[in-house]
């Protein structure tokens, strides 16, 4: 493996990430920008690139909800995405986005 690549796992699959990559970028290079499902199952990906929007949150080395755009890759790092299960359910009807009372 060239020196400028780092071996990691993305959803269990081996991937060679650029050495300077953040976990978010590594996952996008491996799979595309659609990395997670929103609370109603809409496809989402990183938005702000600086840790503000939380749209890039992934499970990294077993720790869930990590802001992956702030975390540099390390050899052996395991990144798990939360992509919508195909077929992607895209819900836009207001009634379906109702949040049940606690």
């Amino acid at each position: 493996m060239p020196d400028d690549r780092v071996p990691i796992l993305v959803d269990g699959q081996p991937f060679e990430a650029p050495r300077d990559a953040s976990a978010a970028v590594a996952a996008m290079l491996a799979l595309g920008p659609d990395l997670r499902a929103s609370v109603t199952g809409r496809p989402r990906g990183p938005l702000c690139g600086m840790g503000v929007c939380h749209e890039c949150r992934l499970t990294i080395d077993g720790v869930p909800h990590q802001r992956s755009c702030l975390i540099p890759v390390k050899p052996g790092m395991s990144i798990e995405t939360n992509r919508p299960q195909p077929p992607a359910t895209v819900q836009t009807d207001p009634a379906t986005t109702e949040v049940p009372p606690p």
Partner: protein, 418 residues
């Protein structure tokens, strides 16, 4: 819990925080510089660029202690804060805290804006600097402000195919601004006049995105200019409508915030004893203003207002430029009509526009719909809803940054023992 103490704590390692830390440390003060990112330089520099390197070297030479990849979670008592670091929770104590939390991009909702493949403008540059290879990608840049030009030029230099830039501001406004730039020989002028003309990327003023289309990813964007619509096929949309001062921490510390910006005197004093603010959170003005303000705050916090005073004329000049920027890139009212009834406004909780606008206030919308109640704490939808409705949108309550339960427990123990 680990303790770190210093004369001065600086929050944010961008131009303002970095220059504040350097000037204070060079006067012999002990300084801790904390930032969420792994590399110093903030969002504008992101690491040791040519412009950042001298400041980073001076910070090292002056003995500034840096805490990278760390977030300030909440204030504990006066002068003490709970921070989360890669090695666990830390208690930071300082006589003076200088807030240099910068700004974030303003995102406005339009149908399809939540599709993967749509990023902020600064965001796309940040991701590219973190290894996102954009060579050969078809990129449309849209929104408002000088950042569109600077980032487009940068993307083009790095092999991306920038299709066009859609700037919502009026052509007449932009022309007046470009002419006035003669008086400000700054980076932005360079972006406007030089690189941009040389690169020949189409610059469509008075044009804005009204719709994004795709499946699980972005495939195309529809632009409008008030008369016609035009569809642009693209892989990526970089879209931002300007910058929003990051005031959440300042609010949590009790600093007065008015019209979305932290209020300070000329030296950066906030009105809360021992708390200064410098840079974009005191008003958007670019990194040149931030560098001046940071130095002023750093010198003043170290007790040398006499030295700080020498920089006040530069600050006055930077502020005139900031006003000119704000005037030129003022957002047009048509953008308020962009969200459809079923457009997601709050991305964290998937709350649609029809549900948000049925309320009378931000507070009511939060309670009734959970808008702004997700992980980002309204940092994305808050400024958008404020623009769409005119509502006053309150800053988040502590914890200011996401923290693990163990970190928060450390803060409770701290309070019980103090």
């Amino acid at each position: 819990m680990t303790d770190h103490a210093a004369d001065i704590l600086v929050v944010g390692a961008g131009p303002a925080g970095m220059s504040a830390a350097v000037r204070a440390a060079e006067l012999g003060r002990s300084v801790i510089l904390l930032d969420e990112n792994p590399a110093p330089g903030g969002q504008i520099w992101r690491g040791p660029t040519d412009e950042a390197r001298p400041w980073i070297e001076r910070a090292n030479a002056a003995g500034v202690r840096t805490l990278p990849s760390s977030s300030l979670v909440q204030p504990l008592s006066r002068g003490a804060h709970l921070a989360s670091t890669p090695t666990g929770p830390v208690r930071l104590a300082a006589n003076v805290t200088i807030l240099a939390t910068g700004s974030r991009e303003l995102f406005l909702p339009f149908p399809g804006w939540d599709l993967p493949g749509i990023f902020g403008v600064g965001a796309l540059q940040a991701l590219a600097k973190s290894g996102y290879d954009l060579a050969g990608k078809n990129i449309l840049v849209a929104g408002s402000g000088p950042l569109l030009l600077a980032v487009s030029a940068w993307l083009r230099e790095h092999g991306a195919n920038v299709l066009a830039i859609a700037e919502q501001a009026d052509p007449a406004q932009i022309r007046r601004f470009a002419l006035s730039m003669v008086r400000w020989p700054s980076k932005i002028r360079q972006a406007l006049a030089l690189k941009f003309a040389l690169l020949g990327i189409p610059y469509w003023t008075g044009s804005w995105p009204v719709r994004a289309e795709g499946d699980t990813r972005l495939r195309s964007v529809v632009l409008a200019d008030g008369l016609r619509e035009m569809k642009v096929q693209c892989d990526i949309l970089a879209c931002g409508f300007g910058l929003v001062p990051e005031t959440h921490l300042a609010s949590a510390l009790g600093c007065p915030v008015s019209a979305g910006v932290v209020q300070t005197d000329e030296f950066g004093k906030t009105g809360v004893e021992g708390v200064y603010a410098a840079g974009e959170l005191t008003g958007i003005g670019g990194h040149e203003k931030s560098l001046v303000q940071g130095q002023i705050a750093g010198l003043a916090a170290a007790g040398r207002e006499d030295l700080a005073r020498e920089l006040l004329p530069s600050l006055a000049k930077a502020k005139v430029f900031a006003e000119r920027l704000a005037e030129t890139f003022r957002l047009r009212r048509e953008l308020r009509a962009l969200p459809a009834h079923d457009t997601i406004v709050c991305r964290c909780e998937d709350v649609v526009w029809s549900r948000v606008k049925a309320n009378a206030s931000w507070r009511e919308a939060k309670i009734q719909t959970r808008c702004g109640m997700g992980p980002c704490q309204g940092r994305i939808c808050g400024p958008a809803v404020s623009f769409l409705t005119g509502w006053e949108v309150a800053d988040a309550r502590p914890p200011i940054s996401p923290a693990s339960v163990s970190t928060l427990l450390a803060s409770t123990e701290e309070m019980e023992t103090s």
